[in-house]
């Protein structure tokens, strides 16, 4: 590892020793943080997978029912029936901190209007089934969105953190150690040189 370009003085060495101390401490802290983040991430990813499997199944079932409902009635009639929904889903959102990152936290607040905003005369009961299913799966979908987003952001943060840990471990710390060693050798060398010089001078005076 390359030695840094510094003056080999005692003061510089003190400064570098201080930096090395900080770097080592920072490295330990960051490493602990990565460990904790990975632990949480694994839990979240498992939950994410479970949720996704479940919702995908339910969603597909609901959408298939909807497709069937459209197939048996006049396409225009179905469209007309649901064109003006009486419900409006909105979310109450906030930010939550997970290991220092802002992740979304959402709660569904639906307006509680009539789920079937159409006359039962023109459409098939299949449509009712499909809408009931879809309404049920919507809550789960929002939960999935929240979990998935948290996972995404945590994964990103873990990667960044790993890079920091690696930079400290493989570049910063060896470089500092090497430079400190270099300064120490230089200082020792000049000390020896001074001693030898004194001895020589003493010899010359004695002669």
């Amino acid at each position: 590892m390359a030695v840094m370009n510094v003056n080999p003085t005692r003061m510089e060495m003190k400064r570098l020793q201080q930096r090395l101390k900080t770097a080592t401490r920072g490295h330990k802290l960051l490493k602990d943080k990565t460990d904790e983040m990975i632990r949480r991430f694994i839990d979240l990813a498992e939950q994410n997978k479970r949720l996704r499997e479940q919702t995908e199944q339910e969603l597909c079932a609901a959408l298939n029912a909807f497709a069937e409902a459209r197939a048996v009635t006049d396409a225009r009639a179905t469209e007309e029936a649901i064109l003006m929904p009486s419900r409006q889903v909105s979310l109450t959102c906030s930010k939550r901190k997970v290991m220092g990152i802002d992740v979304p936290s959402m709660q569904v607040a639906d307006s509680g209007g009539e789920l079937y905003p159409y006359s039962f005369l023109t459409v098939t009961p299949k449509l009712d089934d499909s809408l009931r299913g879809l309404n049920g799966v919507l809550l789960r979908l929002v939960e999935l969105a929240e979990t998935e987003k948290t996972c995404n952001m945590l994964a990103e943060e873990i990667e960044k953190n790993k890079r920091r840990v690696n930079a400290l471990e493989n570049i910063m710390i060896p470089q500092l150690t090497e430079t400190i060693r270099y300064i120490k050798m230089k200082l020792d060398e000049s000390e020896r040189a001074a001693t030898v010089r004194l001895m020589k001078v003493k010899d010359m005076i004695n002669k």
């Binding site: 990813a45 649901i82 909105s90 979310l91 959102c93 979908l141 998935e148």
Partner: protein, 110 residues
Amino acid sequence: MPDKIAVIGDKDSVLAFKAVGVEVFDATTAEQAVALLKKMTAERYAVVFIAESLAEQIPETLAKAKLQTYPAVVPIPTGRTPSGFGMQGIKSDVEKAIGVDVIFNKEDKQ
């Protein structure tokens, strides 16, 4: 704070969402989807569900969306069966964070 939910997809497959009170946007090409997503990022959308078939075509836009807290862009299946694109997303996240895919591999062995 953002508070709206939207769905992007081709009209036939996402129309059903309209009835349950979610805003539906019609898009059939990747360009349309990208333009809609861009618009939604600027507005108050918290969750955007996007049809898997469209999501597959715009990986860069999705990757960019991952970095922000809002909106959460979530691919959803719209066909008869899930295509596995959403699962692929979880898999790549795990690989990115841990290096190897511990969650899906574990199940393969069992």
